[in-house]
């Protein structure tokens, strides 16, 4: 039974996911991880390094199908992904990088609007080697939105950026997501990021990962710097073992 107006996009139940390490030993990455994503929700996977959150994201992206369990889609998935490294094609310009992954219905007008919002209008003819990491991430974010996905996957998209750049990019993702509501999943180990962007935060247990707790984030929690920090501190005091600092 579904709630009126809230459609689920997919149901996931990963019973078991193991890796074969280089030394031949098996490592269990996920164990009995279950989740349901509702349409146009913003979900955050939060947990310590190596808890399998990126593994689960890769399964959602269709990059890994070697697991026991099921991923049931309500409609065929159309994934837009932002990787930890920008993964731009070095031999294509910024414009080509965005348009190569764009949806066929993506218009010139939408393109101009998108690059304006992400602040790349003046950089379109540049090659990725000429961009800073922050700008490359902007291109990667624009590329994901240009593909008009019904599932946006973000794998630690703000990692190794300086604090002001990371803050601007979080704001950018937030703006784009509010303007183009899509189901989004972000992996992070930064609770600040989780509170600022997520509507629901799934706390992962340490390896083998499963979902330990679901936290709702209310608009009041991300109203301002103080409320974000208060929420972060509250979660940390409840689940200190999930924090790496």
């Amino acid at each position: 039974m579904q709630h009126v107006g809230v459609q689920s996009l997919l149901k996931v139940h990963i019973k078991n996911k193991t890796y074969l390490g280089a030394n031949g030993a098996e490592t269990q990455a996920l164990k009995d991880a279950q989740l349901t994503l509702t349409e146009n929700s913003f979900t955050v996977f939060f947990g310590p390094s190596g808890c399998g959150k990126s593994t689960l994201l890769r399964i959602l992206a269709g990059l890994d199908d070697d697991y026991e369990g099921s991923v049931d889609w309500e409609h065929p998935p159309k994934v837009g992904m932002v990787f930890q490294e920008p993964r731009l094609l070095p031999w294509r310009t910024v414009q080509e990088n965005i348009l190569l992954s764009a949806d066929p219905t993506f218009t010139d007008h939408e393109f101009k609007q998108l690059v304006d919002v992400v602040g790349l209008t003046d950089m379109l003819s540049h090659f990725p080697s000429e961009l800073s990491l922050g700008l490359s991430r902007r291109v990667a974010i624009a590329r994901a939105f240009a593909s008009k996905p019904n599932l946006l996957l973000l794998d630690e998209p703000f990692v190794s950026l300086d604090a002001p750049t990371a803050a601007r990019l979080r704001q950018l993702v937030r703006t784009l997501w509010v303007d183009n509501p899509i189901t989004a999943v972000m992996v992070t180990h930064d609770m600040r990021e989780a509170v600022e962007l997520g509507e629901e935060v799934l706390l992962f247990t340490p390896r083998p990962g499963s979902i330990h707790e679901r936290l709702k984030v209310l608009p009041t929690d991300r109203a301002n710097e103080a409320s974000i920090e208060a929420k972060r501190a509250e979660v940390k005091s409840l689940y200190p073992h999930l924090f790496e600092e």
Partner: protein
Amino acid sequence: MRFLYPLFSIVGFIALWAGAAYIVADPLLPGPLEVCSAMLREISSGALWHHLFVTLWRVVASFIMAMAIGIAIGLAMGRSHMINGLFDPWLVFFLNIPALVVIFLCYIWGGLTEAAAIIAVVINKVPNVAVMLREGTRSLNYELEEMGQSFRYTRLQTFQHIILPQLQPFIVAAGRSGLSLIWKIVLVVEFIGRSDGVGFQLHTYFQLFDVAGILAYSLAFIAVMLLIEILIVQPWERYATRWRAEPA
């Protein structure tokens, strides 16, 4: 200054050559002027253009075939352990078989035909291209392919935008070494079993001990290959690598 050194070197060599030819005064060591006049003679009779063109045609045809087949085999070997295992012994075999043996066998089994000549050249070159492209394929960036996979790139898009640009330096290197190897083999093939082309002319002048004629044809063909390098290979390479950051 940088451009003057090669010029000094070439002019110096020509002067030495002219001096040596003057002192020896023997038709077996013609001077630069004799070689030039032999070249002019062949140009005005039209023979040089005819033979140059025929040889160039054979070079281009066998080059295209060798590159296409070599790239396909190299890609397949780099991607699949099974195909690599199946082809690897034969790659070593064909890399080490003498060019002359391949040429003889092709002529014996295929007759002294154009097709046999070109197949002989192609067989000689394919293993080199395949080896280079196998290495290129093994060094492909897996993360970019995953990116394409996550955005549901088609196979053609993946090949065109992700794989081919990464293989491009290997293709250029294989093409470079291919061109210089192929034209040398084409000359041998013509020498042994064709009745036209630069190799055939060299054969004729060899029998006449006409060194001026031999040098005239060799220099003319080297000039043609140099022009191909400067007018086609280098501009293409610059265009294809324009995305790389300029070295500081």
